[in-house]
């Protein structure tokens, strides 16, 4: 290991002399922590609706007002007929049309019920589904209020109170932030060191090292260690940003955040290196890595829950390192889980790390 300190000196110097890298190391976490949590919410609100009131009665107006008052919806327009409302829907200005029938008030008082039709643009299934369910809830609540006000129904015998543990306000930010950290890390610590190595292969400077007595492990460590240190910095920096900007702090132990991330960093950098060992130039390496990153991100539980996937897919995600780190980080941040409770995430990640690093070393060839 004699050569390692010299190689490390070289790597650190090169890293910081390239202005782009340090800038990205600072900017990307800021962008991720600052901008993304504000944007990437799967909360549904401000949905535009159009209401067609065919009755123009007191009761129908009250319903319209109730809809308007809701924080989920935005009354874009009241329309005289379906044709105009449908135009708005097709244009993309509204996603829901509420049609109140023209005997609304009469039917409410006199007959078994009045009809309200909700037309939903269900292209975005989740938005459509949730929006529909909120609209239905509001309308049903209105019916209930009318019932109570007019003495027609007694109080319900059973009240149901939901209590959300770990995240009482169902705030989306603590849910996203741990996952965003993992994503930042895989982009910077998985992608970049591998590109660095392939870049040297492409430029030919790697020959100069291959011809020296520097061992494989020394070379690999010299490439990885700077990025590991950057990774650890990013973990700390991101946590700081999350705290300062959003007031989000881990419910669990901070040392666990670092521990899990260290194993994660170790794993993804080894994966990246393995890919670069099988690539001849930067373009190839970039495409392959990108492919893996996209698949990992999509199936990690970041975008949609693993529990919602078909069973064979859930098994397949066992091969996805992001799955473990994201689950672990969310649990640490939100539930304050202990280390032993998270062993089922930690162990697979460690195994993954060992396998990936061994493969990276073996596939790196000084002599072919």
């Amino acid at each position: 290991m004699k050569a390692l300190p010299y190689l490390l000196t070289k790597e650190y110097k090169q890293m910081f002399r390239n202005w782009l890298l340090p800038v990205v190391f600072i900017l990307l976490p800021i962008a991720m922590m600052n901008v993304v949590p504000r944007i990437a919410t799967q909360e549904v609100k401000n949905l535009n609706i159009a209401v067609i009131d065919c009755d123009h009665s007191t009761l129908s107006s009250r319903l319209t007002q109730k809809l308007q008052a809701s924080e989920f919806f935005n009354l874009y327009a009241t329309c005289p007929n379906y044709r105009t409302a449908y135009d708005l829907l097709q244009e993309g200005n509204v996603d829901f049309i509420v049609t109140i029938e023209n005997e609304f008030e009469h039917n409410l008082y006199r007959t078994s019920g009045a009809d309200v039709m909700v037309t939903v643009n269900a292209v975005n299934g989740m938005k459509g589904g949730l929006g529909n369910s909120y609209l239905t809830q509001i309308i049903m609540q209105y019916a209930q209020e009318l019932g109570y006000d007019n003495g027609a129904i007694a109080r319900r015998p059973v009240t149901v109170e939901p209590r959300y543990l770990f995240n009482a306000a169902l705030d989306y930010k603590p849910y996203m932030i741990p996952a965003l950290m993992a994503m930042t890390l895989i982009l910077l610590v998985g992608f970049l060191p591998a590109l660095n190595v392939v870049g040297e292969k492409e430029r030919g400077t790697i020959e100069q090292i291959n011809v020296t007595p520097v061992s494989r492990i020394e070379f690999i460590l010299s490439k990885m260690i700077p990025y590991w240190t950057v990774g650890i910095f990013i973990v700390g920096f991101s946590m700081l940003l999350a705290w300062k900007i959003h007031g989000v702090t881990p419910a669990g132990a901070i040392w666990m955040v670092f521990l899990f991330n260290i194993v994660y960093i170790f794993t993804i950098s080894s994966l990246g290196l393995t890919i670069s060992n099988y690539s001849d130039n930067m373009r190839q390496a970039a495409i392959v890595m990108f492919f893996f990153i996209v698949i990992f991100i999509l199936t990690s539980g970041l975008i949609s829950p693993i529990a919602s996937m078909p069973h064979w897919a859930q098994e397949a995600t066992r091969l996805n390192p992001l799955r473990y780190i994201i689950t672990a980080m969310r649990d640490i941040y939100l539930k304050g889980s202990t280390f032993f409770q998270l062993l089922s995430q930690f162990l697979p990640l460690c195994i993954y790390g060992v396998v990936a690093s061994v493969w990276a070393v073996i596939s790196f060839q000084k002599n072919s």
């Binding site: 000196t9 090169q14 400077t205 020959e207 020296t212 520097v214």
Partner: protein
């Protein structure tokens, strides 16, 4: 020049699939020699050299460099050689001094020795002012000299040069060869590949590769006589005409 043999190749062969890049090449190089490894582009010189440097496994045959087998003891080989590649693999984004310190350290030279040698080297080359200059801002000729100096910085017994003088004017090339002579005088064996035939004249002995085989081996004078030529160009031309590969 002594009679000690430092490089010995016997039937050295490299195949890539059905393509034989290096075809049963046999030769010896003595200590302190300047050995020119000539041939047209595509003749197989770089492939052969890579095997000798321990970068590539031979498909058949064997070779020893500094007494170590290139197929099984390549890491040992690497401790005893220096190398300068076609792309002058210096790190562009490090300074002259930083490059030298790096490679000195890699070969295990003690720090004060490195310091002294750097001072000595910079003075010899007239580079003192460039100590802290980024390599990428150096002109090509200087980079070449620096790359060569780097290759012999750790005082190896053999240095391999792969097309070291590409792209510079004849005067600069001549200056470069002065450095080579100096190294050879100090006992370093120089193994150099080139396709500049005038440089062949500077070598003690040369071999000429055609289609992966060595078709000529000897001192420039011997070869000129053998092939009835006035210059190495003539010798080369006589051989290259029969070539099936390369340009």
């Amino acid at each position: 020049m002594t009679d000690e043999i430092v490089i010995k190749a016997e039937g050295l062969t490299k195949k890539f699939g059905s393509f034989t890049a290096t075809d049963h090449v046999t030769f010896e190089v003595r200590k302190g020699e300047i050995f020119g490894f000539l041939g047209a582009n595509g003749a197989g010189k770089t492939t052969a050299m890579r095997m000798l440097c321990g970068l590539s496994q031979p498909s058949e045959g064997k070779a020893t460099v500094a007494g170590y087998d290139v197929a099984t003891e390549y890491e040992q080989v690497k401790r005893h050689i220096g190398y300068m590649s076609q792309k002058f693999s210096l790190y562009d984004d490090l300074t002259v001094e930083e490059n030298l310190v790096l490679f000195g350290g890699i070969y295990g030279m003690p720090r004060n020795k490195v310091r002294d040698k750097i001072a000595e080297l910079l003075q010899e080359l007239g580079f003192e002012a460039e100590r802290k200059t980024m390599v990428k801002s150096l002109p090509l000729g200087w980079k070449q000299k620096l790359a060569f100096s780097l290759a012999i910085f750790h005082e190896p017994s053999i240095v391999f040069l792969d097309e070291p003088t590409g792209g510079v004017d004849p005067v600069t090339r001549r200056q470069f060869w002065e450095l080579i002579y100096k190294a050879a005088d100090n006992g370093i064996t120089v193994f150099v590949t080139t396709h500049y035939m005038d440089e062949a004249e500077y070598c003690d002995r040369v071999s000429i590769m055609v289609d992966g085989r060595i078709d000529a081996l000897g001192s420039p004078a011997q070869l000129k006589q053998q092939f009835h030529g006035n210059s190495m160009y003539d010798v080369f031309y006589a051989l290259a005409r029969t070539a099936k590969r390369g340009d």
